[in-house]
């Protein structure tokens, strides 16, 4: 058998020689109405004549590992040898117009958010790989004059089964790339034929990360770009009173000082304030920062926003949920008012979560080069097609003539979905007729955040004598935007109502890792524990009983069509088993359990805490399960479980932004405390449920259960019930 086995070292030396032949794949793109149409060539995979491969990521990466997962899916169906692949650092943005003329992704849906990347690209990426393999197989079959069925494709080699003759993919790629194939002959693999998926692969650009390569937008250079730092109005709606332009211009390197208008942002389904300010433009970044300091800008507060204070808003929300009628009913089953009246046991509690900051580790930045009729933008944004659309909206340049160079994102969490940091760079480049790079400070990043809304959630629950839940009324007041409503215990209780108060604040709000889910789960999983405890029932068993019979229901919320009580129950059971639920705990230690369904995946966690002197808290350990359907890369799913859960713990412990008169007051890490190694559990054991379901997301599901798991554990450890986050207000840690 002839086949070329190349070590990684060899292919690094030889890939420069010889022309690379792109394996272009003619992929059908699926239209909104389900019909298929041919699309143009799609370049994610380049197969070189020496059989080495270069792959690009079809999906943006913000630490949720899609840069590895996407290629795994394609490479498996294509039957590539994973070890022969070299990965490019950037993420190519192919765009097209859909039938309504909107700019969308031409091939893979490269946007990331809502834990949807795998779910939305699962069929597409498998098919891309399978079509590529079919082209190679048909090419080999033609050369040997045999039938395609007599060939096996495996690890970048095609073998003729009867004779053992082989071709490498590299030998076939050039001609294979030109073939038109019969797509009805393309078959996707069965799961037990996967040779890459289902196994733990490491991050493809891991070496670049540990050696400090310039992977992020903030690291990017652009020829001739001027460096810009903007002194932004710290309070909502404030305007410039006066500033010392000359002092800024006197700084060596500062070349321009221009005013940036206050405006609104509306890519978030809601028109929201974006601060104006003064842009200092310089030949180098440090000069721009010094120029900003020299401005000594004085601001004029805006009376319209003077009442935008988070503490006052909490008081208002409490008043609303206790004394006023909600403005909108989101879900209603049965007759909750009557059922509450008739219930043998009633419990009525109110839970509170504050504004969460995103605090993306890499402060925002954007390079914009707006030219005549075309443009280049270099940025890490969760939705590159939205970047192109924004350029078109602002400048009139055809979005398809906008080159979006996408960078790895130093954290997204939903904040890098907002366009504001792109808009300002585009407008400045247009105004200055020059490429610019705008860099944000940490203070900008927090002050100008689109926070997770603060919530006050009142739950009135009613049960029978024996504890069976008969009524659940969930009333919420939150800063703005939306709230969850269709999560469990909906469908588990006959009489269910979820309502809310709307449009209560002008504090800018945006999506935050599983929007509304951690907050919902904090309230509902706390209440379920509180019910279990007054009923004298074990919190785990109470949940398992509530989830019976195991059934699939329709799900009305965003991001999933169905919700299954059995899959949720299995997650609780397994997490509890892993934690040794029910064992005798040492003095001052307690276990707490919580679980939640987010965007198609189920996750449950048990946390062990210890509390000393009723006030000193330590998080000892956590055990978590996830049911995300097929696990494409168990290693990365576990990393997301650990990191997502810690994000939720941080939200519960520390993440609270105080807004006073429209200004975020705790605007850096000395006043906004953030979880570190010392507060983190030493170990988080995680388990991925095995089943036949299609793969679902993992970026958000592990976060939602964290707050309630923590506060339930605190109660078990010391008998104190925390209904108001952050926990660090009541405990030291």
């Amino acid at each position: 058998m002839e086949s070329i086995q190349l070590t990684r070292r060899q292919f690094l030396k030889t890939s420069v020689a010889g022309g690379a032949f792109v394996l272009s794949v003619n992929l059908p793109s699926v239209l909104a109405n389900g019909a298929k149409q041919s699309s143009s060539w799609c370049v994610y995979v380049t197969i070189n004549p020496n059989n080495t491969v270069t792959m690009s990521s079809p999906v943006m990466d913000m630490g949720q590992h899609m840069k590895t997962t996407g290629p795994m899916i394609i490479a498996d169906e294509l039957d590539l040898d994973w070890h022969l692949i070299e990965f490019t650092t950037d993420c190519p943005a192919y765009m097209k117009r859909d039938e309504d003329g909107n700019v969308t992704h031409a091939h893979a849906d490269m946007g990331t958010g809502g834990s949807h990347a795998v779910r939305r690209n699962w069929d597409y990426m498998r098919r891309a790989g399978a079509i590529g393999k079919r082209m190679l197989v048909e090419e080999a079959a033609e050369r040997w004059q045999v039938t395609p069925d007599s060939l096996t494709a495996k690890e970048s080699v095609i073998t003729h089964n009867a004779t053992g003759r082989t071709f490498t993919y590299g030998q076939l790629a050039a001609k294979a790339g030109l073939r038109k194939i019969d797509e009805s002959k393309v078959k996707l693999k069965e799961r037990n034929d996967y040779h890459i998926m289902g196994k733990s692969a490491h991050t493809v650009d891991l070496k670049e990360m540990v050696t400090g390569k310039p992977l992020f937008g903030l690291d990017a250079d652009y020829k001739n770009a001027l460096q810009v730092v903007i002194h932004r109005a710290p309070a909502l709606g404030a305007s410039v009173a006066n500033y010392d332009k000359d002092a800024a211009l006197a700084i060596p390197g500062v070349v321009r000082v221009v005013e940036v208008a206050r405006r609104t942002n509306d890519n978030n389904d809601k028109v929201q304030e974006v601060a104006g300010g003064i842009a200092v433009v310089a030949t180098n970044l440090w000069a721009a920062m010094q120029g900003k300091a020299a401005l000594n800008t004085k601001w004029k507060p805006n009376a319209e926003f003077e009442n935008q204070s988070s503490e006052q808003q909490f008081e208002h929300f409490h008043d609303l949920v206790h004394n006023q009628s909600p403005t909108r009913v989101l879900e209603e089953d049965g007759n909750v008012e009557a059922a509450l009246q008739q219930a043998a046991i009633n419990l009525n509690e109110t839970y509170e979560t504050p504004l969460f900051a995103h605090a993306c580790m890499e402060p925002f930045n954007c390079i914009a080069d707006i030219r005549d009729g075309e443009a280049t933008v270099v940025v890490g944004h969760q939705f590159p097609n939205a970047v192109a659309r924004e350029v078109e909206r602002l400048t009139g340049i055809d979005a398809l003539k906008v080159e979006v160079i996408s960078k790895r994102m130093g954290g997204g969490f939903g904040r890098r979905y907002i366009n504001d940091f792109v808009t300002e760079a585009v407008l400045l480049s247009q105004q200055l007729k020059h490429p610019v790079k705008v860099t944000w400070t940490r203070e900008d990043e927090i002050e100008r955040d689109f926070f997770a809304p603060a919530y006050v959630m009142r739950i009135q629950a009613g049960t029978d004598e024996d504890g069976k839940l008969r009524a659940w009324h969930h009333t919420q007041a939150q800063t703005n935007w939306g709230a969850k409503a269709a999560c469990f215990p909906k469908n588990l209780v006959e009489n269910y109502k979820c309502d809310l108060f709307e449009d209560l604040s002008h504090i800018p709000i945006g999506p935050w890792r599983g929007p509304g889910h951690l907050q919902w789960a904090f309230a509902s999983e706390s209440m379920i524990d509180e019910l279990a405890i007054i009923l004298g029932k074990d919190p785990l068993q109470y949940r398992l009983d509530m989830l019976k019979p195991h059934k699939e229901f329709d799900y009305n919320g965003w991001g999933a069509e169905k919700i299954h009580s059995g899959r949720m129950a299995k997650c609780f059971e397994k997490a509890a088993q892993m934690a040794g639920w029910g064992r005798k705990m040492p003095e001052g230690h307690g276990l707490g359990i919580a679980g939640h369904f987010t965007f198609g995946s189920y996750s449950a966690f048990v946390v062990e805490v210890s509390v000393k002197n009723n006030a000193e808290l330590r998080i000892e350990k956590a055990w978590g399960t996830i049911d995300c359907g097929f696990a494409i890369n168990p290693n990365h799913i576990k990393n997301q479980m650990e990191g997502g859960f810690i994000d939720g713990l941080n939200a519960a412990l520390f993440n609270k932004v105080n807004v006073e008169k429209g200004q975020a007051m705790n605007n850096n890490f000395h006043t906004l405390r953030w979880m570190k190694m010392a507060e983190s559990p030493v170990e988080i054991e995680s388990h991925i449920m095995q089943n036949d379901y299609a793969p679902m997301g993992v970026g958000e599901p592990p976060t939602a259960p964290a707050a309630a798991a923590l506060t339930n554990a605190i109660f078990a450890a010391c008998g104190k019930r925390v209904r108001r986050l952050p926990v660090a207000d009541e405990f030291t840690i």
Partner: protein, 158 residues
């Protein structure tokens, strides 16, 4: 008066005008060494950690002139050769620590400095000395990687 210091084993000179620039921006903007990251600018997050005479130092919090005569190492200079990474970097790769990756240069520099001083740290010592923020929450893996690096470094010495 210009400033001279050793950076990744090479001599570097900064001008008088650059004296008050935070070392972080000198590294990133003047020398294009982008591995050292900006996270907060006030010494709270550790993303900008370099080695200053072998100790972990947050480069946003010292000026270029304060680097006079010092031996500075950045992430770009940590590897032991073209093909040989530092044991901490190797351990990071074995455990596959990063998620977004932005904080990891600083974490690696902080960990390698700590291991120079404390070759076999307990979990409590790791808590005390590893105070860098990881927004993605990779602390469990960082801890694991530190223990592996400590073990590997001990084997090398022996």
């Amino acid at each position: 008066m210009s400033t001279t210091f050793t950076l990744n084993d090479k001599k570097v000179t900064a001008t008088q005008q650059q004296a008050d620039m935070p070392l972080l921006w000198f590294l990133r903007e003047e020398l294009s060494l982008k591995g050292t990251k900006y996270g907060c600018g006030i010494g709270q997050c550790g993303a900008c950690t370099v080695h200053y005479n072998g100790q972990a130092m947050r480069s946003c919090s010292i000026t270029v002139s304060q680097a006079q005569g010092a031996n500075i190492k950045t992430i770009e200079g940590l590897a032991l050769g073209d093909d040989k990474l530092h044991p901490v970097q190797e351990a990071w790769m074995e455990v596959d620590v990063p998620q977004c990756g932005y904080c990891q240069s600083g974490q690696i520099m902080a960990a390698s400095a700590m291991l120079n001083n404390i070759p076999n740290p307990t979990d409590e010592e790791i808590n005390q000395h590893m105070t860098n923020i990881c927004r993605c929450g990779t602390y469990v893996r960082i801890r694991k990687a530190i223990h592996i690096a400590a073990d590997n470094l001990a084997k090398e010495v022996v």
